[in-house]
Amino acid sequence: MTATVAPTVGPGRVPEPLPELIGQLEQTWRDEPGILGWIKSVDHKSIALRYMITAFVFFLLAGLQALGMRAQLARPENTLLGPDLYNQFFTVHGTTMMFLFAVPVMQAVGLYFVPMMVGTRNVAFPKLNAYGYWTYLFGGLFIYAEWWFLNSGPDVGWFSYVPLANSVFTPGKRADVWAQGVTFTEIASLAAAVEIIVTVFKLRAPGMTLNRLPLFVWAMVVQSFMVLFAMPWVATATQFLAWERLVSTHFFDPTRGGDPLLWQHLFWFFGHPEVYIIFVPALGMVSSVVTAFTRRHVFGYPAMVLSLISTGVLGFGLWVHHMFATGIPQLSESFFTAASMVIAIPTGVQIFCWIATIWDGRPRFTVPFLWVIGFVVVFIIGGFSGVMVASVPFDRQVHDSYFIVAHFHYVLIGGAVFPLLGAFYYWFPKVTGRMLGERLGRWQFWLFFIGMNLTFFPMHQLGFEGMPRRVYTYLPETGWGPLNLLASIGAATLAVSVILLIVNVWSSLRRGLPAGDNPWDADTLEWATTSPPRPYNFALIPVVDGRGPVWRHPEGLPVFGGLRTDVRDVLLTTLLDAEPDSRHRHPVPTIWPLHAAIATTITFVSLIYTPWGAVVGFPLLFIAFVGWAWPRGRDHREQQVIEAERPVEVAS
């Protein structure tokens, strides 16, 4: 049954077919009702939204830990958190921020918007997507449950160096919880990376050639490839560590031919790209916001794309700079110093292109745009201290001091949180159909900007004065008291800002202004459909004939017809030119991804306590896999569909 077409066209929108066909599309694509339907959903929007909310909750939890630490450090010899609790606080804070907040939230935004921006109806593998989310959720819950209920909160730092993390120095289960907890999140982010890559490669709307891809989509593709090549390093490392502790292997044990530095290499081969894995999607978000708020395409599209790609590639070259203090040979030291500085170039190119775009356009200084400005300022400070750290002699001086804490928070908060919050204000209307409050938004921005600098700027000075990181307290004679108090006041300011954000969301959901389809007059395809989007995203698949399709067709986009409305049909196009190539039937809602995630959880968690966990876990995984893969052609509706499909010619 083909969606034949009749008119309902608004400006820049994808036209809609006849109302009864719309009804059928709705019927075909929507989630099943009720709580079970919610669980079974394979809609990328439902899943990505869950992902974002979960990541935000983890951000709040890690923020509470940060507040706890700042309260403890506000004055010398404070006794709020003892050393043991403080160790758990900074470890869980760092681990949560990196693995449970920053990476997942970026991927979640990608999982929501990439399919819409390329003009399709779902991600490439909807069941895998659901599985990834559940695995991520269970991994996070697992870490927190172990911490709160079993006193097994990880406490050896977010990079869990051996020998500190081996079973001699860290008996008990704390380091295992860290290792396995992190493994969960790696599986989830690998799944998301494959989703995004294949969605972009094969599900683009007809005519969306690679050089018409929105910059945010490019950024997500680059990030996904980085995830693909970086995450296996830490996954292998965490498995080695888990085995070291569970079955007494000796990878990192120098007395039996092992080497603790192997851990550091494996970890930083992931850990350095990790920073760019967080940062590259943020660059894409900035480009989206700059485009919409200057009403200009970002200047120098090829330069932008090349910078994204080279940031991704260079990101891998730099891991050794985290190990300068370990005494690697001189030659490679200077190589890596140079390489650390080289990465400033592609980022500089992008900043230059944005500034040129802003210069040329008439920027509207509404809230999303403020965050972009904030990003540039904060990130440049962080980049500057980074170039300082990249010089080997300087690094020896400030190594493991508060200078480093200041530096990486400038980079991470400036480079990721600012763009993310900008993107949040920008895309919130699309997701919910309502605008966020502008006045509250401004207050929130300024409190965050001031709070951020109050918290972290003094830490540079503390680092020079020799205050080491990861200490739970300090003596009054050090003279570090006043600057620490200032930093803690800054942290409280940040907390107020985050509360304002929550208030803003809450009041907007209750009585925010209706957003309409395209409130910012932006150019990419997600704005060419309703807010919030329908389950099928687009009733008819848009056809793209240039960059910024929505601006090119104020009269309504040209469309592609002929997809079925009675099954979940998606259109596949060719890799380079996005020529229409075939139709693919997407899965209907299913509970099996959840079962598979539960089986994964049982396996990993029991493996912390006994090697026999594998014997229980693998059969469960196998069952879940069968349930997942077995085609569901049995129900009546689907059977009819198969009948209808019988005489189909095969192309190879």
Partner: protein, 202 residues
Amino acid sequence: MTGPRVVGSAANLPTTTFGHRSLVWWGTVGFMLIEGTTLFICAASYFYLHHRVSSWPPAGTPRPSLLAPAVQVVLMLLSIIPVAKADRAARQLDVAGVRVNLVLASLFAIAMCVVRGFEFAALNVRWDTNAYGSIAWANVVAHGTLLLLETAETLVFTALVFSPNLEQRDIAGVSDNSLYWYFMTGSWVILAAIVYLSPYLS
């Protein structure tokens, strides 16, 4: 209000495609990249630990035996025959051919899992003896997860092609399964050379 400009129709596009035209093929390639990276890391760690010591295996640790891995490599190379035939049959939508060859492939897969057990014994060292033993085991275990996954997938496909639920588009999956099989075989030829032969070279 104007009517939408419909510039093309998907109605006559195929629904069963093979190779890089199909979604699952790309998913398979994605997982091969992930697994390939993981195996590469295991092999790199092997050499990293190797280069830190003067004798490899360490004094007192015997070298691995070669029989089991040799049998395994031969099995895997032979298994390519039915797997490639299943692939070709799938592309021709020849269900009978797919059935026969998938049954053969399943038998091979089970045999390979059994031989994998002997391969562990052939390492002649325990994982907890020294770092050499740990990393040798790690390589064989890491590849073992691929073997398990491929076996599970092949068994499921074999059941599927005999089931009344079979649809034309499922058959394309057989072809992607073959791709993964080649990858599993190729990666083991390399890893087996590293783990079982390289100790004889030093």
